[in-house]
């Protein structure tokens, strides 16, 4: 299995958590106060609450429901209802392998991560992610390509589009050529949204 681009690094600032997906699994991607990135199952083992609704303090992610606090390796460190208790080791959130490179957060199944690091896209910088309900294959076709890693131009700028299949559509992670100015990036934005609309209309037509 390959690394999956799950988010852009810039969209997960220190001290924040966001929902994501790896295949059909819901994950939480979060970054500690010191900047460490992590990808875990998006479910607190206590009462099933999504951890992506939780809050980050220091190097820990806490569930918003009862404040159960999790750290390195998904281990539970604190149960606020029982402040004196050392939580048993069995209370642990399943974790995923995660690597950041080129401004992208790459995720893979733990202990099944690819031997090679994720591909790097020299000369490109991560720009933005947009989500669509259309499958990756239709988005690629609308861009005149196949596959999940597309190269071409949008709004007059050279781009790389990384498509991340989701259970109900896909994410388009957009990388723009280094040195692209703000006005040009605006045109890339307009063009990628047009691409999305085009793909969505293709899907509606097919339906």
């Amino acid at each position: 299995m390959n690394w999956t681009p799950a988010a852009l690094s810039q969209d997960i600032p220190s001290g924040s958590a966001a929902p994501g997906q790896l295949g059909d699994k819901d994950i939480v991607i979060w970054r500690s106060a010191s900047g460490r990135i992590a990808a875990w199952s998006d479910r607190c083992p206590h009462r099933g609450m999504r951890l992506s609704h939780g809050f980050v303090r220091g190097e820990f992610l806490s569930c918003i429901y009862h404040g159960w606090r999790y750290g390195d390796g998904g281990q539970c460190h604190r149960i606020p209802a029982h402040p004196e208790l050392t939580p048993p080791e069995a209370i642990k959130v399943p974790v995923f392998a995660v690597v950041e490179s080129g401004g992208i957060v790459w995720v893979a199944e733990k202990d099944a991560e690819p031997a090679d690091l994720p591909m790097e896209f020299a000369g490109f910088a991560s720009f933005r992610t947009i989500r669509t309900t259309v499958p990756a294959s239709i988005v690629a076709a609308a861009f005149g390509c196949t596959g999940l890693e597309l190269r071409g131009t949008l709004g007059g700028t050279d781009v790389v589009l990384l498509l991340q299949p989701l259970t109900d559509g896909c994410n388009l992670h957009v990388l723009a050529a280094d040195g692209t100015g703000p006005d040009q990036l605006d045109r890339v934005s307009v063009a990628v949204e047009a691409l999305r609309r085009q793909a969505e209309s293709v899907q509606e037509f097919a339906a």
Binding site: H46, R47, G48, M49, R50, H66, G67, A81, H82
Partner: protein, 281 residues
């Protein structure tokens, strides 16, 4: 026929004082029902085939059943006690299992995190040991001697107090909470959560209260309770799985969850499994 053993229970479907003049379609245990006003101004509830269903008008609500209830609706003696104000809070539709909605109502450990600075606040997060039992004579789940520090326990509260609670589960989708009344510390305020199971993963929640509070306006008391419940909804619609797991192992409880553990055990014992997950998926 949906609902199994839960088919013969009573469920709230409308506020008695706010009957729909033109009728209203709803669901009960996944089956269509229709709530209307009859010629005399009373409530009439029918099923999808037009059959008139039994009704009870009590505790501010119209109750009905798709089955044959063997018992009258559970008693709430405090409802008739003089000096209480009876508050029809209204309804909130929630995309969650009706059983998850009740379990959340039985939980106090979430107060500091979900109802921050109202029903709880850090660092006052500890849940002290309390008592839980299934009372066989009345066949109800009871939790007593529950204590918790609350910054603003009710609309009528002035500043933080340690509130004492008792919880009762007299039917699979209803719970009654007794809590220290801020203006009358010797008495219990009564707050209920009456849940109408629409489907296994959606419900209509009808909170109702019988409070000692001579000062707050009805609007303020309703808004306070609705605000609390909207905070709960942000949790309830984001639990995985949507169904309440009754088999041990799928979720990890602690001592603070003794009421929830007893509730799940009681549901399983009676086969009250509409909205529950039995085999760990």
């Amino acid at each position: 026929m949906n609902g199994g053993a839960m088919r013969d229970q009573w469920y709230p479907v409308a506020i008695a004082a706010q009957l729909p003049q033109k009728g209203r379609d709803s669901l009960l245990l996944g089956e269509p029902i229709h709530i209307a006003t009859d010629e005399t101004g009373g409530a009439r509830v029918t099923d999808g085939a037009g059959r008139i269903l039994p009704i009870i008008s009590r505790y501010g609500h119209i109750w009905t059943s798709l089955g044959q209830p063997e018992q009258d609706l559970f008693p709430i003696p405090e409802a008739d006690q003089p000096g209480r104000r009876l508050v029809d809070v209204g309804s909130v539709k929630v995309r969650c299992s009706p059983l998850r909605a009740v379990e959340n109502f039985l939980d106090i450990a979430h107060f500091p995190f979900v109802h921050t600075d109202i029903l709880g606040s850090e660092p006052h997060t500890e849940v002290e040991r309390y008592e839980v039992e299934i009372r066989d004579d009345v066949d109800e789940v009871w939790a007593t001697k529950v204590k918790f520090y609350q910054p603003q326990a009710a609309k009528s509260a002035q500043g933080g107090i340690t509130t004492e609670y008792m919880y009762r589960v007299p039917s699979p989708t209803c719970s009654i909470l007794y809590k220290t009344s801020p203006p009358r510390p010797g008495e219990w305020d009564v707050i209920t959560l009456f849940v109408q199971p629409l489907t296994e993963e959606t419900c209509e929640v009808w909170p109702w209260m019988a409070l000692f509070d001579d000062d707050s306006s009805m609007t303020d008391m309703i808004h306070f309770q609705q605000m609390i419940f909207v905070q709960d909804r942000s949790i309830l619609e984001n639990q995985i799985p949507a169904l309440l797991p009754l088999d041990p192992g799928k979720e990890i409880p602690t001592r603070a969850d003794m009421t929830s553990i007893a509730y799940r055990r009681w549901l399983k014992r009676h086969g009250y499994t509409y909205g529950a997950q039995l085999v760990a998926a």
